[in-house]
């Protein structure tokens, strides 16, 4: 800020809620390599404090983290050698520097499976955030996606496979968009705060889902009436698995859908008139309005697109490896489900394409590495480790807020000003 500007502000008293020029920090926190420093520090701090918790309860944090690391499968990249790999979607084999069938490889497949929906729910939060809104409802939109994907996937037996899986993905995406769109419409028309309405929509989705798949529910398993779980989707509605065994939850091409969506996100935000409007509204709705942009329309659209990402996450999970959904899964999702992890990923990734991608991988690896299937129970109880993951997520959000806080507050000020 130059003297000229401060002069203007100083003659009359500064606006009542004047905030000391946080704009200066804006670019350094959002752009380039420098932007990665704060999230990295945040992560290190969170892991350090998580380690303290482990230490305080009498375990060795270094051994614990090592075991978690091994469980993530990320160590796979380190083991380079002479191996052969099946050509994807073919039968031929070719030389490959890594062993695609090792334990580490299997672990990595799991990690990437978990990472997939986190990327998508992370994008959901990021997109709404770019329009100045906080979409807390990723979880509910994710469930909307899973419910519709399961429903359509377990119907239409005998449909052409490609068509069937596409149908599932599309209806899941639309379901998520509609679910978030409700919050968007409420914000655009009556100004209802999106945080309250998306929280409510989350729980409505959770209980409706529990109802649908619970005992006697309309979508409950038709063969086993006593188990609160959905029907399995038909094979035609399943995404192809390209790495690992389908029976052992190999990696489906869902990860490519997620990666493609990262690209789509980047293009929509940076290269389309829609993204231009969304960002303008997010930064300064008043100036956007003066530029002829419809603020209400963008609130609705941004929310619906945000929900579409989350709905797609649910559909990809169903068609990619879950194939069914249980009442139990839905109820557990209420407090720490994929939607909320997406929130952490978006915050840590600062709503940038690369940031969301890497943060999602971090959380995906952490969740997988601490899961009962991966973690060696002789070193650390997996159920303890699962909670450690939750603690680390909490700490990440807490500390990431510290940096982002100024910017976000400033955004809000701009919005109210």
């Amino acid at each position: 800020m130059t003297d000229e500007l401060s002069a203007e502000e100083a003659i009359e008293p500064p606006p009542p809620d004047g905030i000391p020029q946080p704009q200066q920090h804006f670019r350094s926190r959002f752009g380039g390599l420098k932007g990665a420093i704060a999230p990295l520090l945040t992560t290190i701090l969170a892991f350090f404090m998580g380690g303290l918790v482990v230490l305080l309860t009498g375990k060795n944090p270094i051994r614990v983290y090592k075991a978690v690391w091994d469980g993530t499968g990320l160590n796979w990249f380190v083991h380079v050698g002479h191996h052969s790999a099946r050509v994807p979607f073919g039968t031929a084999h070719m030389w490959f520097p890594w062993d695609t069938a090792s334990i580490a490889a299997q672990n990595l497949q799991q990690t990437l499976l978990v990472t997939t929906p986190i990327i998508l729910t992370g994008l959901a939060v990021a997109f709404a955030f770019r329009c100045g809104m906080f979409n807390i409802g990723g979880q509910g939109q994710y469930f909307a996606g899973t419910i519709f994907a399961v429903w359509f996937g377990s119907s239409f037996n005998g449909m052409a496979p490609l068509l069937h899986v596409l149908l599932c993905l599309v209806v899941g995406t639309i379901a998520g968009a509609v679910w978030a769109g409700i919050a968007g419409i409420l914000k655009a028309t009556v100004g209802a705060h999106e945080v309250i309405s998306t929280i409510m929509l989350n729980w409505i989705a959770i209980w409706v889902g529990s109802y649908l798949f619970g005992q006697g529910g309309p979508l409950q398993n038709s063969a086993q009436k006593s188990i609160p779980i959905s029907n399995d989707i038909f094979d035609g509605a399943k995404l192809p698995v390209f790495w690992g065994l389908k029976l052992l939850q190999g990696l489906s091409i869902g990860i490519f859908i997620a990666l493609a969506m990262l690209v789509v996100y980047w293009i929509v935000i940076n290269r389309t008139t829609l993204g231009f409007e969304v960002r303008a509204v997010g930064f300064n709705p008043e100036a956007a309005r003066y530029g002829g942009v419809s603020v209400a329309r963008n609130y609705f659209l941004a929310m619906a697109i945000s929900g579409a990402f989350a709905g797609l996450a649910g559909a990809v999970d169903i068609t990619g490896w879950e194939y069914r959904i249980g009442q139990n899964d839905i109820q557990l999702g209420g407090s720490s489900g994929i939607g909320f992890i997406g929130l952490a990923a978006a915050l840590l990734g600062r709503n940038t394409t690369l940031g969301v991608g890497f943060a999602s991988l971090l959380f995906g690896a952490l969740i997988n590495g601490t899961s009962g299937r991966q973690l060696d129970p002789s070193i650390f109880r997996p159920d303890l480790a699962g909670n450690l993951t939750t603690i680390i997520q909490g700490l990440v959000i807490l500390f990431v807020g510290l940096n982002l806080g100024g910017v976000w507050v400033w955004l809000k000020r701009r919005r109210r000003a």
């Binding site: 009542p16 809620d17 004047g18 905030i19 918790v53 309860t57 906080f134 807390i136 409420l186 009556v190 209802a192 705060h193 945080v195 309250i196 309405s197 929280i199 409510m200 929509l201 729980w203 409505i204 959770i206 209980w207 409706v208 529990s210 109802y211 619970g214 005992q215 006697g216 529910g217 557990l332 209420g334 407090s335 720490s336 952490a344 915050l347 109880r381 159920d383 303890l384 909670n387 450690l388 993951t389 939750t390 603690i391 680390i392 997520q393 909490g394 700490l395 990440v396 959000i397 807490l398 990431v400 807020g401 510290l402 982002l404 806080g405 100024g406 976000w408 507050v409 809000k412 109210r416």
Partner: protein, 407 residues
Amino acid sequence: MNAVAARLGGIGWTHPRTIGILGIVLGALAFWLALPPLASRTAALPVAIGILAVAAGIWTFSRDERRVGGGAIAAGLLGIAFGVLATRSSSTHLDEVVVWSALGAATLRYATPLIYAAIGGLFCERSGVINVALEGMLLTGAFFGIWGAIWAQSWAGSAAWLVGVGSAALAGMVLATVHAIWAIHLKVDQIISGFALNFLALGITGYLFIDKYGDTGTPGDVPGIPDVHIHFLQNWYFVGPIIGQLNLMIWLSFVLLVGTYILVFRTPFGLRLRAVGEHPRAADTVGISVYKVRYVAVIASGAIAAMGGAYLSIGFVHSFNEGMTNGTGFIGLAALVFGKWRPFPTWGATLLFGFSSALADRLPNAYGNQWGTLFQALPYLLTLVAVAGVIGRSIGPAAAGRPYEKQ
């Protein structure tokens, strides 16, 4: 007191508001008539009364008492719908579900953690700090309540529950203090910090629970918060079974409710609290310390919400499980929004939500599991409708969510 008298005296019996309230009562009546013990079997009765209710509602609505009028219309329609449904159900089914005294007692049990959470949220949000961490505070209270009680069992004997409640409140305050520092001094977005605390609470209580009680669960003989037996009441018709034997924390919640009303609306502190939440700059210009009021409110919020958690673990279910609150804190938040950040309407909302939980519990007896489950969505749906402004907009404290910058 004069205000109450004035208000009572000021009721005009043909005032739109009065008619509207009458409409709401009629709507409820339409449903009630079809239920035991009266159990009218003709659909005509609830329909007729329901139509009256809707008519009253429309009349009220057209006279610009939109909120009450809308409420009466909704009550009338719901009354007709449920009333007709009830007359279509077999009376044995109805008798199984609608046992008023049992429903009443269950309603209070379910409503109690909600009212603690909501009152906690009320203090926090009235001061201008959004609290989406109620869920985490409740959970923290639930864990540390039972942990404290077990810890004190050996030396405090039958009073161990007191230690439990105390440690719950303390743990809630610690959590709330983090929220306060983040929201007030560090000016971090309050929703982000609230959600972070929910995660932390879930992780920490889960971690400690597994670490301490993971193999066997919490012991079966946890010293619980005692029930209050009022012997002469217990034999009274209807009310006896409901309030003759209630947990101490439920009675305490009534005291808390009235106390909160008095504190927030009848004392200088309350006036300052609300001023800070509505217009901190105005409060500052007359010499009120905005930061101090907010710290007090946020930390009190943590203590109160955590006490609700303690009720949940050592007053109600007598055990702890990972993530046992499962959304209770959010229903509390919903009740606060639904009750428009005022103590008694919020209490009404918790009773309504508690009733829906109680009904959800009993519906499976006759109608199968799934309806009870679907019923759990009702509080959230109602709150969504409330924020959407269909029946009178719910608007919170004006400065909520905005950090205050001193000049």
